[in-house]
Amino acid sequence: MTNRAFRPAAPLIALVVGILLMLPLFVESTYALHMMILIFISVITGSSWNILGGYTGQYSVGHAAYFGVGAYTTMMLLQFRQVPPWYGVWAGAAAALVIALIIGSICFRLRGPYFVLASIAVAEIVRVSALNLKNITNGAEGILVTEIPPWTVGGATITDWQSKVPFYYVGLVFALVVILVSRLVRSSKLGYYFQAIREDQDAAHSLGINLTLYKNAALSISAIFTSLAGSLYAVYVGFIDPSTVLGLDLSVQILMIGIIGGVGTILGPVVGALVLVPLSEALRSNVIAQGLINSGLVREDSAVGAFLKENLAHAHVLIYGILVVIVILFMPDGVLGFVRRIAVKKAKA
C-alpha cells in the first residue's frame, strides 16, 4: 500500500489549496459554501477515523462518541459558561482524549468483531448518559446556540456569525491540518508501527511494538481530530442533541466515509466525503428527483414521479445502505482502489 498509493504532484496540491482558500471570494452561493463546510467536516471525521481504522486496523463503529463529546463540551461551555468556542474546542479535544483513553483501555484488549461490538457499546453508553443526565446536557431537548461573541483573529474581527465564511475557513484549516497530520504520521515511526499492528498484531508484538501504547496513540490522534469536527459542526449548525451527535447512525456514516474512498489511504476519506456529502444533500433537498423530472426521464404526474418527489428526500439513508453494499461487493478497496485497478488495466491494454 505504501508503494501503490496515488500521490498527486505538489503543484497540483498547491493549486487545489489555493482555489479552496479563495473560493468564498468569488462564490456567492451560500448553499455551495454550506456543502463545502459539510464536506470539510466529513473529511476531518473520515481522515481521523482512518488513522485508527485504516492504518491501525481497529475498526471503530463508535466514533460518534468523540464527535459528540467535542460537540457537547464546546456547546455547554458556550451556552452555560459563555466560554467562546475558539477556546471551547480545545476543552472538547481534551475531553475527547480522556474518553478515548478510557475507551481504549477497555476495548483494545479485544480483537476483530469483539472490538467493533465494544466500540459500539461504549458509544451507546455515552449517548444514553447524555440523554439521561439532563441537568448537565439538557437531555433530549438538546442545546441551542443563542449568541457567539465577536472573535478577533489575524487582523480581522468576526462579528457576523450568520455568514458561512468564518466556518468555511475554520473547516478548511482543520481539514488541511488533519490531512497533513495523516501524511506525517504515515511516513513516521508511528505510521509504520500502526500498519504493522494492522497487518499482524502478534508479529508486530514480537518485533518490539508495544501494542497498547501504539493503539492508544492512534486512537488519541483520531479522537482529538474527530472532536474538533464535532465542535465545528455544533457551533455551525447551532443546535445539538444526543441522537444527532452521538448516535450509531453517525458512527456508521463516519465509517463509510473512511471506507468508501479507500481504507488506509490519505485521499480515500477525501474521496469518500466528496461522494457521500453531495449525494446525501442532493437526496435530502430533492435535487435528484427534480433533476430526473426536469430532464424528462420521469414524468411529474406519473406514479413514479410522484413517488420520487414524495420520498427520495427521505431515502438518502437507503441510498447509503445500497452504496455500502455495492462498494463492499464490487469495490472492496473503495472507490479509489476501484479507479486505480481500472487505470492499471487500461495501462496494460
Binding site: V61, Y114, A121, V252, Y320, V324, I328, L329
Partner: protein, 288 residues
C-alpha cells in the same frame, strides 16, 4: 418484594424471546463466523409481517408464526446465497459493513413503504394479565414464553437428533473438518442464515402485541442480540438461551432500580464486563 418478583418474572419471560434472537445470531456466527449486524432488522421484518397479517387478514399474531417463520427462513437463505456468501472469504470488517448496509436497506425500505409512524398491534388480549402465585403478569408475555419454549425444544431436537442439525453443529465446530467429511458447508451456511432469520422474525412476531412497531426498532435488538451471544459464548445455543434470560432479567430488574432510561446502560455495562473478563462467554469456547 412484590415489585422485585414481578420484574424478575417479566424479565424471565421476555428473556425467553431474547433467547430466540440470541440463538439465531449465535447459529449464524457459529456456522459462518459472520457478525450479523442486520439481525434486528430481520426481527423488524417479522414484526411488520405479523402486523399486516393481523390488520389485513385478521391472523392472530401468535398463529401467524406458521406463515412468517418459513417465509423469513427463505428470505434469510436467499440473502445468504445471493449476497453475503460473496464476502465469506473477505476480511471480517467487510462482512460487518455488508450486514450493516443490508440492515440499512431493510429498515429504510420499510420506512419508505410504510412510513415511520409507530404502529400498534392491539389484540383482544394485548393488555390482559394473568395471576401466577399472586403476581400479575402480562398474558401475551406468558404465551410468548410458552411458544419460545416449544420452539427452543424443537430446535434442540433438530440440532441433536437430525442429520442436518448435526451437520450444522459439525460445521460450527470446525468448518474445514466438516468439509473434509463431506458436509456441504455452503449449504450449511444457507440453512444457518435462514434459521437465524426465521428465529429473529419469530421473536419479532412474538413481541408485536406488546411493542411499538416502527422501522428503526431493529437496531436496539441487534445490540441486545450481541450482548446475549457474547454473554453465552459465541456459537453456543445453550449459552444464548441462558444469556437471553439473563439479559431479560438484568434489563427488567435494572430498569426498576435505576430508572427505565438507564436500562440499556445496565445491559451495555454487563456486556463490557463480560467482554473484558470472560470474552469467551459464560459457556462458550474461545474462537478468536
Amino acid at each position: 418484594m412484590e415489585i422485585f418478583l414481578q420484574s424478575l418474572i417479566s424479565g424471565i419471560l421476555i428473556g425467553g424471546v431474547y433467547a430466540l434472537i440470541g440463538i439465531g445470531l449465535t447459529i449464524i456466527f457459529g456456522v459462518m463466523r459472520v457478525i450479523n449486524f442486520a439481525h434486528g432488522e430481520l426481527l423488524m421484518l417479522g414484526m411488520y409481517a405479523t402486523y399486516y397479517l393481523f390488520s389485513l387478514f385478521h391472523v392472530d399474531p401468535f398463529l401467524s408464526i406458521f406463515i412468517t417463520m418459513p417465509l423469513m427462513f427463505l428470505f434469510g437463505a436467499f440473502l445468504q446465497k445471493i449476497v453475503i456468501n460473496r464476502t465469506l472469504a473477505s476480511p471480517p470488517q467487510n462482512q460487518i459493513l455488508l450486514t450493516i448496509g443490508l440492515g440499512l436497506i431493510m429498515s429504510n425500505s420499510v420506512m419508505l413503504a410504510f412510513t415511520s409512524d409507530y404502529k400498534i398491534l392491539s389484540t383482544k388480549y394485548s393488555s390482559s394479565s394473568v395471576r401466577i402465585m399472586g403476581i400479575s403478569i402480562s398474558l401475551p408475555l406468558v404465551i410468548s414464553f410458552a411458544i419460545t419454549a416449544v420452539i427452543t425444544v424443537a430446535l434442540y431436537w433438530f440440532l441433536l437428533k437430525t442429520d442436518t442439525g448435526q451437520a450444522i453443529r459439525a460445521t460450527a465446530q470446525d468448518r474445514e473438518a466438516a468439509r473434509l467429511m463431506g458436509i456441504n458447508v455452503s449449504r450449511m451456511s444457507i440453512i444457518a442464515f435462514g434459521l437465524g432469520s426465521a428465529l429473529a422474525a419469530t421473536a419479532g412476531a412474538l413481541i408485536s402485541p406488546t411493542y411499538y412497531i416502527f422501522p428503526q426498532v431493529g437496531s436496539a435488538f441487534t445490540l441486545k442480540a450481541f450482548v446475549i451471544t457474547v454473554l453465552g459464548g459465541m456459537g453456543s445455543v445453550v449459552g444464548a438461551t441462558l444469556g437471553g434470560v439473563l439479559i431479560g432479567v438484568a434489563e427488567s430488574v435494572g430498569g426498576v432500580y435505576f430508572g427505565s432510561g438507564w436500562k440499556e446502560v445496565v445491559v451495555f455495562v454487563l456486556f463490557l464486563l463480560v467482554l473484558l473478563f470472560k470474552p469467551s462467554g459464560l459457556l462458550g469456547k474461545s474462537t478468536t
